[in-house]
Subunit: 190 residues, 2 copies
Amino acid sequence: MDLLKNRILADGQALNENVLKVDSFINHQVDPKLMDVIGKEFAEHYRNKNVTKVVTIESSGIAPATFTALYLDVPLIILKKCSSKTLADDVFQTKVTSFTKNIEYDLTLSKNYVNDNDNVLVIDDFLANGEASFGAINLIKMANANIAGIGILIEKSFQKGYERLVDAGYDVYSLARISKLSDGKIEFLN
Amino acid sequence: MDLLKNRILADGQALNENVLKVDSFINHQVDPKLMDVIGKEFAEHYRNKNVTKVVTIESSGIAPATFTALYLDVPLIILKKCSSKTLADDVFQTKVTSFTKNIEYDLTLSKNYVNDNDNVLVIDDFLANGEASFGAINLIKMANANIAGIGILIEKSFQKGYERLVDAGYDVYSLARISKLSDGKIEFLN
């Protein structure tokens, strides 16, 4: 998606060979118009897949996932990284390790909102090793639902996530595929 | 706002006199059409306030705040509850206590995205004691920006937050003002 790739080139910062900072338009400051266009793009791509729910992981995926759900006319479900008082009962949980942030968390899904009739589209901001995506997939499988696809804003194609997801049979659609990061330089796969 | 109040009556659950569960359409499962309408409502209400940025706190406020920012045609800024590797430098931080969740966290704002030219609208899902709102206000003040107003989806009017904010001179607009919660019963102020 040229709009996103050009924005990454203009406003993204390659801090080193692993970390791309997109805090000025995706992660911390958010461009709502860009999120709107991205949501439309995902909705178009998965239009014929009979998606019944969009799922994302808090919190950077929420903005684009909300627009995706709006344009697909289905509910959004936000997977929580911490258990809270009002989410204590009747939940599925799975452990996820974030290598980027060097933390481990319990990803949580209420048993009330995904079931065996659902066909779920997962939307996330980054795909690196695929840990977060597989965490979401685990929860959706625990609910006996089908996975319609995985929509990603920025894929670090030099890491294993894309390959792992495709090898597992999932329909992955990444809007920007980054082949290489180095100090101050960002290269795309295509 | 009748649409939100009716939805709270239909799908909200008063767990006790303090906790209102809205996990089925705001906090965990999200109704994107409702968020769209709420965003439009906030944008209309603050249309003449010359808002330059919308600020929210991760993560339940992100969906309605994204639409608010879209309709006001300004960027959204998501205040982070945890510091991450790529947010380590050049940040404002303030401690916030959540009595509902019984946790304390460092609310974080990058110094890059709010400055003394900004007029900031704060959007959040719940207003209880006002701890989260005052946390956001503290960060915006550290950046020497002005606060245009505080837009709230659900106000627990029986707690101190609204009074504290209005006493401090802020323009608070709550879409649903709850006067009383009890087991299974929800009453509105007006």
